[in-house]
């Protein structure tokens, strides 16, 4: 239901929308553009993994020897050890000028060693390479199995050396936050600010029902969501075309993966509207809606941690916008799309019901 109220919303908000649209274009087009540079740097690092040599003992309890090629301008070397899959919180194992260390293998599990060259006091150390206690493994592939990343990939094996993988992990992991929080902010404020700035009395003294008011605000939000999604589609396809990656990452995939987030955004918008009519305060509504978005995200992430936590995923809206399924597996989950759309409509009906019950504060 798009009428004069929705139109007025767009008319008064177009400046902000334009600035945000510019940001969407810059990031969605810029992300593919930096991919070649990223791929080259990653390739170099992966090759660097071979620059560190790890000798394993034949029997349990023997000695491990770790050696690496010296770097000309290095003042000392650092070795970090990690026995976890994450490689995010390594323990310092060695710090000195020698180019090899030997230590006892008194553990069973797989461990990782990262060797860094310290150049001077002020700059960060350079990575010389990574070695693991199991031969033939690709540490970066394993990194992708980290639950934090798996949260974005749905547990899929994703290569960061391909545009597909890079976009899935880098672009979409901020896109949900950027677009989701933008819509959450707008949806709460277009309604709650009418309360706070005492515009509701005058609005609702015209022959506009509360239902129509809410529906029109919602339709304005739908148009805005469609607008930023279309901008992202244009930006992303443009960027991919520029780096000649459209053969591996089709326009169709760009389109479906981003269109898939529309009902996702509309659910967030409807939650924002329910909180706005319930609490009638911009700050309160915003706090709750933002908390909702992040809570849903964490539910999905935790759901990926283990099988026993999988139920958490099913109550997260992130599960029903599976962009990596479109990008990696070439499969658009239409049923999920419809499910989220129905959820948005149900939430909107709840919002109308709440709004009808509430007094307008004087």
């Amino acid at each position: 239901m798009f009428g004069r109220i929705a139109y007025m919303e767009l008319r008064t908000g177009w400046k902000g929308l334009l600035i945000f649209g510019l940001l969407v274009i810059i990031v969605s087009a810029g992300m593919p553009l930096i991919f070649p540079t990223y791929r080259d740097a990653l390739t170099e690092e992966l090759e660097g993994a071979n620059k560190v040599n790890l000798e394993l003992p034949n029997e349990q309890g023997g000695m491990i020897t770790l050696s690496w090629e010296p770097l000309d301008n290095a003042t000392s070397y650092m070795v970090l050890e990690d026995n976890r899959l994450s490689m995010l919180t390594p323990i310092p194992k060695y710090n000195g000028t020698a180019t090899s260390i030997t230590f006892e293998k008194d553990f069973e599990e797989k461990r990782y060693y990262a060797v860094m060259a310290v150049l001077n006091e002020t700059s960060d150390p350079d990575l010389i390479g990574i070695a693991t206690t199991e031969k033939g493994a690709d540490p970066f592939q394993e990194l992708m199995q980290n639950p934090i990343y798996a949260g974005f990939t749905g547990g899929r094996n994703i290569s960061m050396l391909e545009a597909k993988g890079f976009i899935t992990l880098e672009f979409f992991s901020w896109w949900w936050m950027l677009s989701g929080l933008f819509i959450a902010y707008l949806s709460v404020s277009v309604i709650a600010s009418d309360f706070e700035n005492k515009r509701m009395d005058m609005m609702l003294s015209t022959p506009i029902s509360r239902r129509r008011y809410l529906l029109e605000k919602f339709s304005a939000m739908s148009v805005i969501a469609l607008f930023i999604v279309l901008l992202a589609i244009v930006g992303l396809s443009g960027g991919l075309a520029k780096i000649n990656a459209l053969n591996e990452f089709s326009i169709e995939a760009v389109f479906l993966s981003l269109i898939g987030c529309l009902p996702f955004l509309m659910v967030i918008s409807a939650v924002g509207m329910v909180t706005a009519v319930l609490f009638q305060k911009v700050r309160v509504g915003m706090g709750i809606t933002f908390a909702f978005v992040f809570a849903e995200f964490f539910l999905y992430t935790f759901g990926n941690f283990s099988k026993s936590l999988e139920w958490m995923k099913t109550i997260s809206i992130f599960k029903y916008w599976d962009y990596s399924s479109v990008i990696i597996d070439d499969f658009f989950k239409a049923a999920d799309f419809i499910l989220l759309t129905i959820l948005a409509i149900v939430l909107l009906i709840i919002g109308i019901w709440v709004f009808k019950k509430k007094d307008i504060p004087a």
Binding site: I5, D201, S205, I208, I360, A362
Partner: protein, 311 residues
Amino acid sequence: MRKRCDAMDQEKVIEIKNLTKMYGNNVGVKNLDLTVYKGEIMGFLGPNGAGKTTTIRSCLALIAKTAGEITIFKLDSHRDAVAIRKKTGYLPGDFGLIPSVKVSSYLKYLLSLRECDSTKKMVSLADRLELDLNRKTNELSKGNKLKAGIVQALMADQDLIIMDEPTSGLDPLVKQEFYRILREEKKQGKTVFMSSHILADVEMVCDRVAIIRKGQLKVVEEIQALQEKTGKVLEVEFGDPVTIDEFKLKGVSDIQQDNGRLTLTIHENLDGVIGAVSNHRILNMNLKTYSLEQLFLKYYAEEEEQERGDA
């Protein structure tokens, strides 16, 4: 007077029966009965916090009722709210405008929500109230914002005009023009229901007044009857000696003298009093309406006392 009342009986525009609105444990209004007839200007008087705004906003279904019934144009205020609002203009007591648009754009927007295409009345009202339609809404002063509110309440040619404190903050000259506009509306058969906390503001234009205090309706009276009852306070400063006896005329009470200054209350026979005053040299003269508080103290204190006794 009586004749007009009979005619009004034929058509009730607003009929409030036994309205109660509670805010938690606090009383907004309690058991309020009030009827506004077609073609009259009804003043709704009461001190701040008496329940005027609560009553008005209940009529417009902006708040839910705790109990009671409100019928407007023979329709239920809450069930048929949208149908009622088609024929009703409303000025809220406190309101904001959409910022950063021209006043004319904003008013046209509200007109369009009322599905009214003609901007003729809007332009003429703005002109008469000296409201610049080309200003941006966020640049308006408090008085000009109120004018914009008044214009929007009247511009779509509504049959019923409900206004919450339309006169507080208007310049005296603009106020006079506003009264003229209301009288014209009335002549066209429109009904006006407006609240105020200042008696002087409503007596200029209203046919009847309803007085509310602490959530309860105290008085509903024709304005003339109320004026006769309360009277006006005349203060005169004379340049020559006067005696109190000269002013002991019909319809005069509470005569007080302090040197050359004389204070008295006139209920009727205004020309007689002025005649007596003009026998002397007048240095200064001031005719005042009782304030609502004075009115209560003087005429309804008894009832208050009784209530206090009951409590």
